[in-house]
């Protein structure tokens, strides 16, 4: 059966017809609905007019990526989100934590784990997330290495990445002491002494870490300050530099991607 042409809708009575949309710059006052529709745009415009952030956002997010970009390219972002998760959970753990070596530290961790609402969950996220972050950092580094993405002009980004790797390890090392249980204490003793085995500067390094010749009253607060103030700031700043260089230089194509010449160039070659 052939499709019949659609009949025009019967004309509505004038009372039921929708009023034609009033232009915003019209003489009459705009309705509250229109204002609400415009509110978001107005706010963004207001900020953008004063910061020009939209250009930077477009520059950062709407980049061209090479053909062959695949899931391996998400490992860097995954690492960054692992860091953000550590940062957020860490901030909230700091609300309960007490770096007191005479029992207070262990007690505060016990309190977080057993008594605080969702405490075990948030602490678990921080604890297991640290391992996730270390694993992701290494996978990300492996991706960069095997895809040859460290080559010119991205060498500086590789160097920054190495510093980020070291800082991540410093975070793991200093964070391990904070629960202040037997495992934390002895692991730190061993870790500090491993630092001390470096010739010439080793003894000074281990004394610096402990804040003295023996594991002392300020060792725990020293580790806490390094863990939650010194290194996170450096990490955040260097992640910013790392991201800037990624946006600036673009990502590299996977090594198996063949170069496609434009047709007019191919003709010119022949």
């Amino acid at each position: 059966m052939p499709k019949l042409p659609k009949l025009p809708a019967p004309p509505l009575p004038a009372a039921l017809q929708e009023a034609p949309p009033r232009p915003s710059e019209g003489k009459g006052p705009s309705g509250p609905l229109e204002d609400a529709k415009q509110a978001g745009i107005t706010v963004v415009d207001w900020v953008d007019e004063r910061t020009s952030l939209s250009g930077a956002t477009r520059w950062l997010l709407f980049r061209k990526v090479p053909k062959g970009t695949n899931w391996f390219y998400t490992l860097g972002s995954a690492t960054m989100f692992a860091f953000l998760s550590q940062a957020v959970t860490g901030v909230f753990l700091a609300m309960y934590y007490r770096p007191d070596p005479a029992g207070g530290a262990y007690e505060s961790i016990r309190y977080v784990t057993n008594d605080v609402f969702l405490g075990q969950f948030v602490r678990g996220m921080h604890k297991w997330g640290s391992s996730v972050m270390v694993i992701l950092v290494f996978l990300h580094m492996g991706r960069t290495f095997f895809f040859g993405a460290y080559k010119y002009p991205r060498e500086l980004n590789w160097v920054i990445g190495v510093v980020l790797l070291i800082l991540t390890m410093v975070m793991s090392f200093t964070g391990y002491l904070l629960p202040f249980d037997q495992r934390a204490y002895w692991a730190t003793i061993v870790g500090v002494n491993i630092n001390g085995t470096g010739p010439l500067i080793g003894p000074y390094l281990s004394d610096f870490l402990r804040g003295g010749s023996e594991f002392g009253a300020t060792t725990l607060s020293r580790f806490y300050a390094i863990h939650m103030l010194l290194v996170p700031g450096l990490l955040a700043a260097l992640i910013g530099a790392h991201l800037y260089l990624v946006a600036k230089l673009g990502t590299s194509a996977p090594p198996w991607q063949k170069v496609e010449k434009r047709s007019e160039l191919r003709e010119a070659e022949v």
Binding site: W186, V190, N193, T197, P203, G211, E214, A217
Partner: protein, 223 residues
Amino acid sequence: MSDKRAKHTSKSKYTLDRQIPGAFEGETVTRRAFMTGTAHTAGAIAATAFTLPALGFAVGPIFKSTPHRWESVGPVDSFSDTNYIPVVMTVTPNIGEAGKTTVYVRKFNPEIDTDPYDRETPYIAISSRCAHLGCPVRWVDAAERFICPCHGGVYDLLGRRVGGPPVRPLDRFYTRVSGEDVEVGPRFSVNSELRRFSPRDPGQPLDGVGQYLYPSRPGAQKL
């Protein structure tokens, strides 16, 4: 035009010759250069003013010397000259359990302690801190060995390494008798010939060039 360029290329060091407005007789530094230098210097001084104290604050403990502590560990007749008695003493006060360590104490025995360096101490006090990486060793009576649970370091009766990864014998403590009590004092490290050195951290060898590769801490005091 041509003489103007010539004047520009042959710069005199005097501002007056370069016809800079407001120049003084004999002035060589332009005000712009002076202001730049002043601003940079002021910035450098301000940055140093908070960086150096903060750095010194963080690094200071390396150079600090802690006073020697002597702690009574029990009456004289509670120790034998053939076997070790473990005693717990405080190394770092005011931090509870974390500041305590186990010390194995034995009376000086001229038949065993034949090394010349041992003769001065009335009691042999051996630290339980493993010379590999600092785990706590324990004295195993049946084996007559100190054994470390972490990485398998084994030491003999005198604390000399007989197996595993440690790089030197177990550390010792100075001892003295005060009244009826044995007192244990500051720590010292020994090399494989039981020669004494100021205390080093675990993992730092003291044989050969070891004592120079791993210098003692600046705050270490001679007893």
